[in-house]
């Protein structure tokens, strides 16, 4: 099915995402739905652990499309994002032709053509997304890549096609659904941002985070889930932490407590399992000294 036609409204998309276990609020659902309708890339920014990457996974699952992931890093270039030729196999092929063709009358050009054949092409994520479209292409942590790579990405995202000199142009039949995530370590270029729909994901509120925990970790008792969520919310709100725990940490913490078999969050179990939610020594000290006050309230 054409991805842009799959959901008639933002509300339907929110329901579809909900069925996969991703609870999107109205704002995120509206923006994601618009990205599908307008066939624009969706640029998501926000604190780590607020579900930017998870959204792409949920969209892929809801649309029943393959998810193709491109993890960006410093120094990534077109051969890792687009395509590369399989040199060892090409050499092997040459040797094989040499061994077989005892008579020297073999056509040289035909052999050369065989070398740049589909079977020696290593398709990397962006090319795969164009060929396998409709698909969901997740460009993760795009702020880690260099400026040059951004320009390259911009070219692909605006034309939805790629030219391989030896093979010709590969164009997507239907543009893939593209989700870009950024942690804002670097300001992205305006030209790239202009192509995209922009959304900032915040930490969820108490009620929503509770719903997320209930749907992601259904085995955990309701009292434990409520206690952990309200504690995490209090930590985010009141404590000046270096790295406030995200939703992922909340889920880890709830699951850890469940594994330990503790029915409620008390001072001892909280102190013992704090390392699941808080990852800095300074934070841990601060939280430990504040825990009894938070748990008492």
């Amino acid at each position: 099915m054409e991805p842009r036609e799959a959901f008639a409204s933002a509300g339907e998309l929110a329901q579809g995402l909900g069925r996969t276990g991703y609870l999107a609020d109205a704002s995120l659902a509206t923006v994601a739905w618009l990205a599908l309708r307008l066939q624009r890339p969706l640029l998501l920014e926000g604190e780590p652990g607020t579900g930017k990457t998870a959204l792409a996974e949920a969209v892929a699952e809801a649309l029943d499309l393959p998810l193709i992931r491109l993890q960006c890093y410093e120094g990534i270039d077109a051969t890792q994002a687009l395509y590369d030729w399989d040199f060892p196999r090409q050499i092997l092929h040459l040797r094989a032709v040499e061994a077989v063709a005892a008579d020297r009358a073999k056509d040289v050009e035909a052999v050369e053509d065989q070398l740049f054949d589909e079977r020696f092409l290593l398709a990397r994520p962006v090319l795969r997304a164009l060929r396998e479209a409709p698909a969901v292409l997740l460009v993760d942590e795009v702020d880690r890549a260099d400026d040059e790579f951004e320009a390259f990405l911009l070219e692909v995202l605006s034309t939805w096609q790629v030219t391989i000199p030896e093979l010709g142009t590969v164009a997507a039949a239907t543009p893939p659904v593209v989700v870009l995530t950024s942690n804002r370590t670097r300001e992205l270029h305006d030209a790239l941002k202009r192509r995209c729909l922009y959304h900032w994901i915040d930490h969820p509120g108490l009620q929503r985070e509770l719903e997320i925990v209930r749907s992601r970790a259904p085995q955990v008792s309701e009292t434990l889930a409520a206690q952990v969520v309200s504690t995490v919310q209090a930590l985010r709100r009141d404590q000046e932490l270096i790295k406030p725990p995200g939703v992922a940490e909340t889920l880890d913490w709830v699951r850890a407590l469940h594994e330990l078999g503790s029915p409620t969050l008390d001072l001892d179990t909280a102190a013992a399992t704090l390392g699941v939610a808080v990852k800095y020594r300074e934070d841990a000290e601060r939280v430990r000294s504040a825990l009894d006050r938070i748990l008492a309230s």
Binding site: A10, A26, S27, T30, V31, L34, A35, R37, L38, R40, L43, E45, Y73, E74, G75, D77, F87, P88, Q90, I91, L94, R95, E98, L115, D143, R144, N183, R184, T185, R186, E187, D190, K193, R194, L197, Y198, H199, W200, D202, I242, K243, E282
Partner: protein, 375 residues
């Protein structure tokens, strides 16, 4: 269809209302371009005009491009459409300039309840000395002289090893290039190609203290920052005072005078008080830890006068040192006769500093450029 009637005479035409809103947003300082306006109209048409919430989110997604824009968007939206959006919480954590504290020294009045953005702003404007200094009207002869000298500075970025290997005469065997060369010879062995890791410019982060005690140097330091920012190297510049302000964008302009005027427009706390530890914390939390300071050369321009407890500055400097490749502290007073680092702030920071250099004269700046390039 009235056909020829101009848009202004049909005040209720929805596209005119929406476009007017986009223009108002541009006037408020959000970089709204013509193609963004078009996308906005398309998006609004998709969600339908009968769905105000949908139109709100469509505009937010198409017209904004950074957390700083979102707050302005909410304000202009409320002013233009005359209604408050339910569920838009005031953002406390993302604006580019961060209110850290009021300047009133006469006690803890109102310290407790100031969480709401509005009250912080109101109090800040009442008590904080938000002086917009006109940088363009400085003493003329010396300024021209000094500006010419700054133009002669040639800042170089320090280098770091790159991920990618580049062709070289020595190093490891470049199997791929060697094989490619063989392929060109139809499989006959050819010369062996070598490669080694290249280098790339390392990021430089400049944190300039623009508080009252540094006011005599602030202009010169920002000129220095401009010579760095205008080179096109990976450089980020912030000012520290009672607030932390990101000023890389205004300083990127080539012309130094224009850049400084633009910088003066965005920095709200010229010659105010100093909250070094708070400023550093804001930098580390919002920028540094996410990657800006990681592996970078961080240069702090300050005299180390600190209003708060020196231990807080020590802790933030330790965090900065743990992230950065090298921490350089530039103190204008260091070059003076009889200077000793006795201010509590400097004493607390010293253990976490790699290079402690002077910054009071042109010669000192040249030395600093050298220190940064070799870091």
């Amino acid at each position: 269809m009235t056909g020829a009637a101009p848009v202004a005479l049909r005040p209720h035409a929805p596209d005119a209302v929406l476009l007017g809103f986009a223009r108002a947003l541009r006037a408020a300082g959000v970089a709204v371009t013509a193609d963004r306006e078009r996308t906005y109209l398309e998006a609004a048409a998709e969600v339908g005009l009968l769905d105000p919430a949908g139109v709100y989110w469509a505009g937010r997604a198409t017209l904004c491009s950074s957390p700083a824009d979102l707050e302005r968007y909410d304000q202009v939206y409320a002013a233009w459409f005359g209604l408050e959006r339910a569920g838009t919480r005031p953002r406390q954590d993302q604006p580019p300039t961060v209110t850290m504290a009021s300047l009133d020294t006469d006690g803890a009045s109102g310290e407790a309840g100031g969480q709401e953005q509005d009250t912080v702003q109101a109090r800040a404007s009442a008590t904080e000395v938000l002086r917009h200094r006109d940088i363009a009207t400085l003493g003329s002869a010396e300024r021209a002289h000094l500006a010419a000298l700054f133009a002669q500075l040639r800042p170089r970025a320090p280098r770091r090893p790159a991920h990618r290997a580049t062709p070289s005469r020595r190093g490891a065997v470049d199997a791929r290039r060697t094989l490619r060369e063989q392929l060109r010879r139809m499989g006959e062995p050819g010369p062996i190609a070598w490669r080694r890791r290249g280098t790339r410019p390392r990021r430089v982060v400049l944190l300039v203290d623009v508080s009252g005690s540094m006011s005599a140097y602030a202009d010169a330091l920002l000129r220095l920052a401009h010579t760095y920012a205008a080179t096109g190297l990976p450089v980020e510049v912030f000012t520290l005072g009672t607030r932390l302000t990101h000023v890389t964008r205004p300083l990127r302009q080539r012309d130094p005078e224009r850049a400084l005027v633009a910088c003066g427009d965005v920095v709200p706390d010229w010659s105010g008080g100093t909250r070094l530890a708070q400023g550093l914390k804001a930098f580390l939390d919002r920028w540094g830890r996410r990657g800006m300071a990681r592996g970078a050369v961080v240069v702090v321009f300050s005299d180390g006068w600190e209003r708060d407890a020196p231990e807080a500055l020590g802790e933030q400097m330790r965090r900065l040192r743990a992230l950065a490749h090298r921490v350089v502290w530039v103190n204008p007073h260091r070059g003076k006769e009889g200077y000793a680092p006795v201010q509590q702030g400097i004493v607390a920071a010293l253990p976490h500093i790699d290079d402690f250099v002077a910054g009071h004269s042109m010669a000192a700046f040249e030395e600093l450029v050298e220190v940064v390039a070799c870091a």
